[in-house]
């Protein structure tokens, strides 16, 4: 057990899978000699060689198409998209192609691909670097969308994603890369996909979050505790498909819910969670479902991030509204 940042935990996960399974390949723009623009693949090429960890030409559609071809040849590709805002360049190869291969070939082929990509606000990146686009991915049948919120989950979820026979989009929040360290086992371990995590138990209200909003929700829960409100905080971890059981169980207990996402109101997966509660959990609810989201504009110019991004204060305000209903 060592205290590690999330980025180090991610590097370790790839390192261990590259060692364990010779079919694992890591590639993308600047992931080789350079070790990635965030150092996520630092030293991996040196250790595992240029045939296992390599750079590609600068073209996202090519990178993901390459992954599908390699997967059809029996490899386990772990491609990187440098920033998830660049996913539009390869939407067909993700949404039109690899996510459908298994279905399209009647279950006779699989494409065990893990697409890694950083996203997320709060670090003053230039345009189209920080956008939360997980909602687009969550609408694609055949894909899993995983978003870790801490170093321990990041390593265990990434190992699970790489070992899974289905394609996974693994989104890494840039603000979480180095903002804190946590205990991470030095050996390989897995955190199950499709399972949410109750990061703090409580009985008065459920805060459902993912990515950087998990930390904000935990901070909000500390403030709520000062008001004698015992909040339960759920980290979705896999945002598609949703862990319906954990969500419904929690809301059945608390009767009140606030769904928190960094994405705009019309984006993300918050509306999907709300619809699930409306359909299967309406009789548990003592108050309308609350949602905390960013405003419905394109991602802000970097100087406006702090005004635009949802934070602890927004969560507190919404939670109190739901509590006072």
């Amino acid at each position: 057990m060592t205290k590690k940042t999330m980025i180090k935990a991610i590097t370790d996960a790839m390192d261990e899978e590259l060692t364990r399974d010779e079919k694992v390949l890591v590639f993308g723009e600047d992931v080789g000699k350079n070790g990635g623009v965030f150092r996520a693949t630092e030293d991996l090429q040196k250790k595992h060689g240029e045939k296992r960890v390599f750079d590609t030409p600068l073209a996202e559609s090519g990178i993901i198409g390459l992954s599908t071809g390699l997967a059809l040849q029996g490899f386990r590709p772990v491609p990187e998209i440098q920033f998830f805002g660049f996913v539009f360049e390869t939407m067909d190869q993700i949404a039109g192609q690899l996510s459908r291969i298994r279905f399209r070939l009647g279950g006779t082929r699989k494409v065990p691909i893990t697409i890694r990509a950083p996203f997320g606000g709060g670090v003053h990146t230039p345009e189209l670097h920080a956008d939360s686009l997980e909602g687009l991915m969550a609408q694609i049948p055949g894909l899993r969308v995983v978003i870790p919120s801490n170093p321990y989950d990041a390593k265990g979820l990434l190992i699970s994603a790489i070992r899974a026979d289905d394609p996974v989009v693994f989104l890494e929040h840039m603000k979480l890369y180095r903002s804190f360290k946590a205990d991470v086992p030095d050996e390989a371990y897995t955190v199950p996909l499709d399972k949410a995590n109750v990061v703090k138990e409580g009985k008065d209200i459920t805060l459902i979050a993912y990515g950087a909003m998990v930390q904000e929700s935990l901070k909000a829960s500390e403030e709520l505790a000062k008001q004698n409100i015992d909040a339960e905080v759920i980290d979705l971890r896999t945002v598609s498909p949703l862990d319906e059981e954990t969500i419904l169980k929690s809301v059945k207990k608390t009767g009140r819910v606030v769904i928190v996402q960094e994405a705009q109101e019309q984006a993300g997966v918050g509306a999907h969670v709300a619809a699930l509660l409306a359909e299967d959990g309406i009789l548990y609810l003592k108050a309308p479902i609350g949602r905390v989201t960013a405003p419905n504009t394109p991602y802000p110019f970097s100087e406006a991030e702090s005004d635009w991004l949802p934070n602890k204060g927004d969560i507190l305000e919404k939670a109190n509204k739901v509590l006072e209903y």
């Binding site: 390949l25 045939k51 590609t56 030409p57 073209a59 559609s61 090519g62 993901i64 198409g65 390459l66 992954s67 599908t68 071809g69 390699l70 997967a71 059809l72 040849q73 029996g74 490899f75 067909d92 190869q93 039109g96 192609q97 298994r102 279905f103 399209r104 070939l105 009647g106 279950g107 006779t108 082929r109 699989k110 049948p141 055949g142 899993r144 899974a164 026979d165 289905d166 996909l193 499709d194 498909p241 949703l242 862990d243 319906e244 059981e245």
Partner: protein, 366 residues
């Protein structure tokens, strides 16, 4: 400045260096004796039979579509030399990534005909490929097969397997980003891929001249730094010989090659309502009919004493029987189940999907 640095006219004419490779004249005579493929009489007749098979399949498929017994169909008549002679070169372990018009190659590569018909009708069983069948179903998204081919080819290279990935697109497809990314990636990785552009002059109604100012499509290979070659796509011997040389070159570890075949489709773009009379003249059609790849091969084989009308007639009867057998089989396939669709979507079925499966299985009366 006394002298201009750039000779724009010369630069624009770079495509002139890409000369069309021809071996057979329109009346079946050898234009280049030294280029005649080293094929035995038996192999030549086999190649011709495959071309006849494809023509008969096209005629029957068109009729079956009109009768509502087939669904989506993209006619192939006219493209037999381009499609069949290129495929004829390939090894059974080479990996084919066809576009939607490339069903004949897929069947000749090993897909049972009835499955090709199921694909046309829109039935999942048409796409259930055995583990060892190196192929993808026909690609609908134009260009997608090109980037995937780069990946399949890199896979062969990494495994040290001596096979190629081969893929097809049309003239319109060369305008796609994925077309360029595919040939460029394969080039950068020196991957064993063969990219075939079947230039039949039209992308639905848009003539080739409106796709690009480039005077050949083969020259687009220059942008990827790979060899490009243009061949008479109505000349089976030229397509065969060029593809064969290309495959050998690619297998030597030299990286990919782009082949442009100059061809024509006698029919419409697809049978889903396209009317070529809106954009093509009878004169153009007649001109290309004179170049018919089957007529040319027939004459060539006749001169060699390999072919007789009787042999062809017998074979056509045989093919028609095969087609009938395949279409009869297709019409007796069980209906598709949504529960099976749900099972096929993931390898590890998510909890929510499990519930959906149960719901549909109950409906389907399982």
């Amino acid at each position: 400045m006394s002298e201009k640095i750039i000779d724009f006219e010369k630069l624009k004419k770079i495509g002139d260096e890409f000369k069309t490779v021809k071996i057979l004249s329109e009346d079946g005579k050898l234009l280049k004796k030294n280029w005649e493929p080293e094929l035995s009489d038996e192999e030549l007749f086999k190649l011709f039979k495959q071309m006849v098979w494809s023509r008969v399949l096209d005629e029957r498929s068109t009729k079956l579509n009109r009768q509502g017994r087939l669904g989506f169909y993209a006619p192939t008549a006219g493209e037999e030399a381009s499609q069949i002679a290129s495929n004829f070169v390939m090894d059974k372990k080479d990996f084919i990534l066809p576009a939607y018009r490339d069903v004949p190659q897929l069947v000749l590569h090993g897909l049972p005909l009835y499955q090709a018909f199921l694909w046309s009708r829109g039935h999942v069983d048409g796409n259930k490929y055995p583990d060892n069948f190196p192929a993808l179903p026909p690609q609908i998204i134009i260009g997608a097969q090109y980037v995937q081919a780069a990946g399949v080819a890199l896979g062969f290279k990494l495994k040290g397997q001596k096979n190629v990935a081969y893929t097809y697109t049309g003239d319109g497809g060369t305008s796609q980003g994925d077309f360029y990314e595919g040939i460029n990636f394969a080039g950068a990785f020196k991957a064993p891929a063969i990219f075939i552009v079947q230039n039949n002059g039209y992308a639905i109604s848009v003539p080739r001249s409106e796709q690009t100012a480039a005077n050949t499509l083969a020259q687009k290979a220059v942008a990827a730094g790979i060899p490009g070659v243009q061949v008479d796509g109505m000349d089976a011997l030229a397509v065969y010989e060029v593809t064969k040389e290309v495959r050998e070159y690619v297998l030597e570890g030299n990286g990919p090659v782009l082949i442009e075949t100059l061809t024509y489709r006698y029919g419409p773009h697809t049978l889903s309502g396209d009317d070529p009379k809106r954009y093509r003249t009878k004169e153009t059609d007649d001109l290309w009919r004179k170049k018919d790849p089957l007529v040319r091969m027939r004459k060539y084989l006749e001169n060699k004493g390999i072919w007789t009308q009787e042999k062809e007639d017998n074979y056509v009867t045989e093919v028609q029987a095969q087609i009938k057998e395949a279409i009869d089989k297709v019409e007796n396939m069980p209906k598709q189940k949504i529960s099976e669709y749900l099972k096929n979507t993931f390898s590890e079925t998510p909890a929510g999907t499990k519930q959906e499966i149960e719901r549909f299985e109950a409906k389907e009366g399982k």
